[in-house]
Symmetry: C2
Subunit: 338 residues, 2 copies
Amino acid sequence: MSASRPTILDVASRAGVSKSLVSLALSGSDKVSDASRQRIERAAQELGYRPNAAARSLAAKKSRTLGVLVLDLHNPVFAEILDGVQTEVRQHGFTTMLVSGGDDPALERADIDTLQQFQIEGLILISHRLTEAMLREVAGEIPTVTVTRDDIDIPRMDMVCNDDVEGGRIAVDHLVSLGHRRIVCLSGGDNPVSHSRARGYLEAMAAHGLSDHAQIVSGGLTDTAGYRAAKEALEFSPTAFFVANDIGAMGAIAAVEEAGFDVPGDISVIGYDGIRLAGLRSVNLTTVAQPLAELGRLAATRLLERLEKPARPAHHDQVSSQLVVRGTTGPANPSPTA
Amino acid sequence: MSASRPTILDVASRAGVSKSLVSLALSGSDKVSDASRQRIERAAQELGYRPNAAARSLAAKKSRTLGVLVLDLHNPVFAEILDGVQTEVRQHGFTTMLVSGGDDPALERADIDTLQQFQIEGLILISHRLTEAMLREVAGEIPTVTVTRDDIDIPRMDMVCNDDVEGGRIAVDHLVSLGHRRIVCLSGGDNPVSHSRARGYLEAMAAHGLSDHAQIVSGGLTDTAGYRAAKEALEFSPTAFFVANDIGAMGAIAAVEEAGFDVPGDISVIGYDGIRLAGLRSVNLTTVAQPLAELGRLAATRLLERLEKPARPAHHDQVSSQLVVRGTTGPANPSPTA
DNA sequence: GTGAAAGCGCTAACAC
DNA sequence: GTGTTAGCGCTTTCAC
């Protein structure tokens, strides 16, 4: 470890020019002669110079960095959305700073705080833990786009979402077409995504004249939550479960099989999200698939656009899901046995 | 969006003190009178003051931020390691900056570059894509600890690893104890983890006098890689697969079942990692489980220690895995039929 | 205890 | 084209 990192000044003196020329050259300005540019680039190269983002951001008053907050790194659905975000963001020469981890709103707010201290220029929220007040506060301070959350309408905040109500309907329609009537919804708990999906479920059940059978068991968006909810929901002797997300559905299947039922022989299970994992033959989960990478790409695009035009009205994008039929749903079994 | 964020100067004038006092007070110095401290804290509060990390890092020449590079966000194994990292890092008042995404060494090097520009004080590498030259370069510039990679010994670089050779042996011992002989290793490809695990496999096969049956098919560390490798390996008519990691094992199971075989009736499958997902009844994967969170915690600890004592000799920690028997391994079936 | 002053490494006018 | 000059918001001596 040498004395200390070389600065733009070291590069300047080595190249025999002033530090401003170095700055210009390194930022790709066209008002630098080729000769100088080359000398500067060589000097930087030889010195192993690396710009100091802190200084740059301080001076330029922009960091070219976007913050991303993610609900839960354990659920691969976020990695798939992030792929889309990254692709788009990189193309525009921005960097991305990722945080995750806080389980409650306050911790999550603290995570965003960290992001803000790093002078991020915009924020992508792939989470829904923030309270409305917090969200308003954040969105008021920094260009923000939410992914997967459309419950709170804030003037200049963009939202990109899947049509979760439609998705819920798609799931129910599929199940009903297979002859199911006692369809229980294992909801993902108290958050906008889950609410919408549950609403779609309710609407579709009603549309099929099945309101009497409609039954929602509230759980969460993790595997264990799905497991528990399914266990509890078994008492309604359902022939099918519509689970709020794929990971939860995997948990639900575990509970169903543990209780001695066959999937889909006795009970069908349909998930939501369309994570790659669900496509594995060993999982083979029927699901309502969102265009995950597209969701991420769109979010990044909207945010980048807003950085250009901060005042433009909010965009509310909605993408559509698609039913992917695999092995966990099948014809209704009128009297499943344990 | 108001004029512009309040700075330490705004806080100072509102509290009627100088900016240096504010700085002192906010960093918890004891040479500030209680009266001043309170006025300052109130002012900061009222203004919604948030420190500018860029300025702070520039002035203090330290960022209190650690960089973390992760191989693949799609594999939950990294989320579980990260949990351990985060827990430890937060306790010490440090922040963590996470990057991931580059598929090849150069891109990954670029990711680290980004991290360095943000003046991270230390680096946790949960990846193994970097070439030896790159790793030396990086480790020479910044305190670095690798997790999950112990192939390159660099003077002041700490390493925390699982004993993957032992893990490989554990897997084989388990399979052999079930009567398996034609055990094929679906390796994770050309990287240190996979090499060690494969070596453990080879050693154990030899120890059991099964060297003639030893067979390694090279794949990768993703579900699809496991799937493909298994498909290919079926030609050796194995009675068991030892797969380099859990996600790969899930892919392998898919291939096995797709070919009409039963797991574990015809072919047993054992994975490696011990991700939570593997414990789901619907997956129910027998595996060699690493203490994931502990791995992360240890890495963070070592790095934090090194920041204190930059020159101390490198620590090479090794943790042990544990066999977790679940439903994908069973007694050998002498003649599996499709 | 408290304030003044000198930078940290960089960008962005502005002169030349 | 190129150099000079002010800061960006903060920490940190060093006087008082």
